[in-house]
Symmetry: C2
Subunit: 340 residues, 2 copies
Amino acid sequence: MAEPDSRRVTLEDVARVAGVSSQTVSRVVNDHPYVSDDTRRRVQDAIRKLGYRPNRAARSLATQRSCMLGIVTYGIDHYGPAQMVTNVEQTAKARGYGVTLSTIQTLTPAEVCAAIDALGGSVVDGLVLITPVVGLRTADVMALCGDIPFVQIDTNLGAKLPSVVIDQHYGSRLATQHLLDLGHRRLCEISGPLYWHGALARHRSWIETLDAAGLEPGPHVEGDWTAASGYHAARQLLAQRASFTALVVGNDQMALGAIRALREHGLRVPQDVSVVGFDDIPEAAYFEPPLTTVRQNFAALGEQSVEYLVALIDNRNTPIHQRVLYPQLIVRQSTCPPCE
Amino acid sequence: MAEPDSRRVTLEDVARVAGVSSQTVSRVVNDHPYVSDDTRRRVQDAIRKLGYRPNRAARSLATQRSCMLGIVTYGIDHYGPAQMVTNVEQTAKARGYGVTLSTIQTLTPAEVCAAIDALGGSVVDGLVLITPVVGLRTADVMALCGDIPFVQIDTNLGAKLPSVVIDQHYGSRLATQHLLDLGHRRLCEISGPLYWHGALARHRSWIETLDAAGLEPGPHVEGDWTAASGYHAARQLLAQRASFTALVVGNDQMALGAIRALREHGLRVPQDVSVVGFDDIPEAAYFEPPLTTVRQNFAALGEQSVEYLVALIDNRNTPIHQRVLYPQLIVRQSTCPPCE
DNA sequence: TGCTATGATGTTAGCGCTAGCAATTGACGA
DNA sequence: TCGTCAATTGCTAGCGCTAACATCATAGCA
């Protein structure tokens, strides 16, 4: 068993026990060549015996790198961010990086800046920014990150910073076009908060797609991603006597709330109103009715952003670009042709 | 603007610009007394001008503390853990601690140990272990954590380690008793994986409560927390021609899947079968029908564990105990008296 | 035999920061 | 006048580790 000393075990302690210099121990720990098998074994024995664990702070200080990535994200109690964080962490671990978290509650540029700052002060080799808020200035982000490499996830399409995004324009067109193809002509929308890139892009694309089809967009209400807000948004639409046969909803949770409101109002889904969601959360297939939705590959988002970030860390000259992923329409029973 | 030097800005640089010693700058940065207002202002100006940010690694090395907590948790794509991680992070931030994450995929004791080890090697002042798996030996945990203070969340009730738990026994009794009070006599259960403390506790309490009422428990199927598994579990119960009027389900997502299976089988909820879930996820109130469920206060769990952990860090002699939280039954439309 | 190449180790000098003490100044009471 | 004290600042020595160089065998070759 490890000696339960009050002081932590250091390289020096191991060196003394193994009868070598601390430098040699360091070489063994870091898998350097030029250590004889015999010495290596003696050192490893000593390490095990003493329960030695390298001190990361000291190593960071000496090497100028920490093997830590920082993640700045809005509350991970949402499905999307939780997925991304999980995948970022997993991918990072596979590449030898740990992960430090800094979450933000209200998605204002100021709070985002504070969160980045909190991590920037710490030792991280790179930053993953899951900050889907509109109004975050490119210059601000660059200034805050300083010379720390970073990758943005879920920012606006076309941003001139290292980023990985899902084409929400495309996704929203998929959803709206699907409804148009079914024959719907009167559509309403419940969007996410429009200060989110994704929500805004989906909203705009909804209008554009209708426009291209020569249709007038019906009323639009803004929710906050929760089922509760979807419920209230739908009630609001119904209260203002909007007449529609199809509803595009900004995410699956809000769609759930909307469906409940519709049903309480005596409307059947999909016979009276077709509903499309976004994300394809694992529960969507078990909604009543199972939800047609636009699937986002959050896993790929997390993985690719880490890959890109690690490339940036290893080689500062990695070209800056934006990688774009495309969502996929999953058709289930919540959509059908309008019955009139 | 900050001088975009290749080297990072150090205390020394600030000291030079401000015309003081590096020690004085350190005092300003750390809010020590005995710095004149004039000097303080000059130093702060220099800090701003140079864009100085203290190097955490160096500070950790010098002070022997990192102001970092480690979180070991199973995949945060589940609702409960995501909630806990969020709240741990928030509370930690409020107390001046950052948070480092280490997630585990398969909840085996071996993987848990690996995750703890990964963090233990890093510099953290304390560990939050969200490791609800049965079979994790107390001795192993203590050995791995070494002299790093830790708090376990969601471990077994009665564990002799610092921990904060929700009394799942109590919660399960609430759910089952609610159904008994409504007049149900034939109950089935879909539980979570029984190698999870919570799932096991709920399962046992389900049996005990029925026992106390002189009733034989109906069939029980184990799911994996997902809606899909709930769906398949319910189909399995129906396939074996189990006759029941009420169903206790290990979490809300599985309840959603189960309800869908029941409906597909021509059974109405709650008229034919009452269903109770666990957790009270934000969507539960919008299920069809709105779900009766046992609410877990994950936020409190996260907060209290950090408070406890910080107390342990500040004072190693803080008494070891287990704090117990109690869940709450939320009655909605998915339960009603059996109609026969 | 000398002379280089190379493997295997030790020595030294920091990385950026802070604790602890020393030094300096001015104010105040004895 | 001197000693004492508090306020303010600087100096020095590490924290535990690694990069870079220095050292010293030993082997291989002319």
